[in-house]
Symmetry: C2
Subunit: 466 residues, 2 copies
């Protein structure tokens, strides 16, 4: 309020009305009923003199820094501009969402379900790993034989689905991605199973040698080799983790409301993802083909930025759908206690922090079964880190190239580019700038790779590039 | 890091290696060199057992709430999507910015400069107000005669430029807005001049009657009627305030670097504003005419949202250009001390707070010369507040309708709609929701009014509505 009240100290004996010159200019005061001690309330200051020496808020001299309204502004602007994009899309293309069409992504020939068969066959490899471990536990085969059997089994897990996807022509790309994804997860799980059981044998040997007393007094826990059962194996296969251990931490009960919420999220977000891809991604990508064939640079950038928004949105929804809804649903169903499937990657200020925190199951596996064993063997940290990215790049390429039957190394290069990017960001950018750089690399990097593959696929299948 | 270290309290005498069951599963520990008191560092916990009971971060049970990365995400998304809009615009329309074309907005006929003449004529009214006050100060004319003269002078200030703008056909709309704007500012200034001088006379009379001692001891200050000089009058006319007072607070010196920065900002932002209007507003508005003529509702909304972004951006730049750069430039030049031209309206959670803080000179004037005098006469608060909006609505309409020679009351209704909007927001929305509502009303409300006027102007001048 401009009509502020001022307390003025006056002499005890003196006039009760008059004029005062202050730094705020002319001040008229009157005796007021608020007389306290010798202070008089001067309530007319600002009526006659209404200016004071002060800086504008946006001048650095003002020291003002409260811009919390700006976050709301950002949110409002984003919602409004995306609402417009959505409306523009509907006006331009009409409704493109078609749930029936989705089926054709999985099935070319309704009498041949190669992807489903491949997934059923995976039980063979699971049982092979279990039986090998049982033999190793009782000592029927040596550690070396066991290792060879495991390596053979793991190689089959990678090679057989790849060979199937490349040779069986009735397998669609989507079916290929799903079955190869499941096989990759299985590869990582069984690798972890092999390692963890070997460590258990080492401990057993150490105990037997040194005759140390075991502190394991809790009876409900299973100890090696009591874990080598079908039940334990399949619990691990379905559990939302890639790292095997005896006696997973368990939650006390299945919370039915939590389970239902996750299930509804899964179903709703699945529909949303399919709808967004059909309605927003596909037309944008189709419109991008012409500029990319003609190598029209400014239009290419425009298309890239146009694609970046739906692509990023879809990635965010996918993240939530998979890492929050689906994995939590599986965990709740299996009473699996450890729900740390991701950490706060959205605050990451370095590229390394992002990769270490957005996908905790894979990160945990890499750390436990790849990075740390390498460090223990004396590899230096940077080399070990690069090796992790190399393996990750291999699997990215594996999951993209084989289902598309097209080897272009874009996914591989995209992952390997993270190493110099990480070095650059950690050296030159800090705090919010680092965070913004991570976001930019996410928002821009993905559609670049997507467009590369789609362009090449398009050229390969439908026409010749200019 | 997953390989955390745990301190375990062990019995003083006991084995130094063994197995422990904790809530984190199997724990292998070895005697470590970090032995302190009876605590042993257990550094192998997570290698063998790598899961713990914990919730996902996005589950409400986790209690996690650090989403500071989201602000950066918003900024990155806004920058990228606007970069795309900019690029799309350039590809679609090419470069439309044309500084020469701007001249034609001011001049239809290079031999007739009606707006400039009108601005020069304004000196007559300034001097009329000064001479009336001089007469009043020495008592040659009575208070009533003075009031009549002032009312006549102030009426002329509003009527003469309006009549000129409506009759002189060589005056362009932009010239009309500028000259009417200057006259409106002058009206408010001279109204304040009249009131402030009258208050001074009242004080002088009160003093003379009661023979109170004056505390004014500082010699550099001017007291009534010493202020009735041409110099003082023109200082007030050019000062960035609408409220007159004797002895404005002054800054100690002209900071040359500050002055230069503001000047450069003024020049650069002026160019930017003109460029954005030519490149972004004009084509978008032109494309909006067809849907608006055909009353195609979904396309109208799409156009409205498309226009909202450049319109809002231009308004923000205009705000900074006028209220920060230009007014600070004038203030620095005149060593005017009070730089509070705006407060933190971007944080406003109610519509009233926004209107009371985005334009402090006008707000101060309304409070000092309109709202408070009304309250003193016994009007209730809500009525007085509505009256302020009514006067504001009148001036908005005055500044738009007359230069466009078109009376549609959209601006008037836009301002009057703020009263129910303010009631709605203050009753139903709090905190960030209130802030978002204020932003939405700003972002959406303005382009609605702009499109209304442009549509009507277009229909009136170029064609018939469907």
């Amino acid at each position: 309020d401009l009509d502020q009240n001022y307390m003025l100290r006056l002499p005890k004996s003196g006039p009760l009305e008059g004029t005062l010159w202050s730094h705020r200019g002319l001040c008229i005061f009157k005796m007021s009923p608020y007389k306290m001690n010798n202070y008089f309330k001067c309530s007319h200051v600002c009526l006659y003199s209404c200016h004071a020496v002060q800086e504008s808020l946006l001048s650095s001299a003002s020291g003002f820094s409260n811009y919390r309204g700006i976050l709301n502004w950002c949110v409002v602007m984003l919602v409004l501009s995306n609402a417009r994009l959505f409306l523009e899309n509907i006006i331009k293309y009409g409704i493109l969402v078609d749930p029936i069409q989705v089926v054709s992504l999985f099935l070319k020939d309704p009498y041949s379900w190669p992807a489903a068969c491949l997934i059923i066959v995976s039980n063979v490899f699971i049982l092979a790993a279990l039986y090998t471990e049982r033999r190793l536990a009782v000592g029927t085969i040596s550690e070396t034989t066991g290792l060879i059997l495991h390596i053979f089994n793991l190689s089959c897990i990678l090679v057989i689905p790849a060979a199937t996807a490349l040779t069986v022509t009735s397998m669609t790309s989507v079916g290929g991605v799903i079955s190869l994804g499941i096989y990759t997860v299985l590869f990582l799980k069984l690798y972890s199973y092999k390692d963890a059981n070997r460590w258990c044998r080492e401990i057993r040997q150490a105990k037997a040698k040194r005759l140390t007393r075991s502190y394991s007094s809790v009876q409900t826990h299973v100890s090696y080799p009591g874990n080598l059962t079908h039940r334990d194996m399949y619990y691990f296969v379905f559990a939302p983790t890639l790292c095997y251990q005896l006696n997973f931490p368990r939650s006390s009960r299945i919370r039915k409301r939590f389970l239902m919420r996750r299930l509804l999220e899964m179903l709703f977000l699945m529909q949303l993802l399919v709808g967004l891809i059909q309605q927003w991604m596909v037309p944008t990508i189709q419109n991008s083909m012409k500029p990319f064939q003609e190598m029209d640079f400014s239009r290419m950038v425009e298309r890239l930025l146009k694609l970046a928004v739906p692509n990023h949105l879809i990635w965010l929804i996918f993240f939530y759908w998979f890492f929050h809804s689906s994995l939590n649903f599986m965990a709740e169903l299996l009473q699996f206690g450890d729900r740390e499937f991701y950490r706060d990657w959205w605050n990451s200020e370095t590229v390394t922090y992002f990769w270490a925190n957005w996908n905790i199951p894979v990160h945990k596996w890499c750390l436990r079964h790849f990075y740390k064993p390498m460090l223990r063997k004396g590899t230096n940290k940077f080399l070990a880190q690069s090796a992790v990215f190399l393996v990750s790049a291999f699997f990215h390429e594996y999951l993209v190239s084989i289902p598309l039957r097209m080897f272009r190394l874009w996914a591989f290069m995209g992952m390997m580019a993270q190493v110099p990017l990480a070095l650059f960001v950690s050296r030159f950018l800090n705090g919010n700038y680092g965070n913004a750089a991570v976001w930019i690399s996410l928002i821009i990097g993905q559609p670049v790779a997507v467009l590369m593959y789609v362009h090449d696929y398009y050229v390969l299948h439908y026409g010749s590039s200019a």
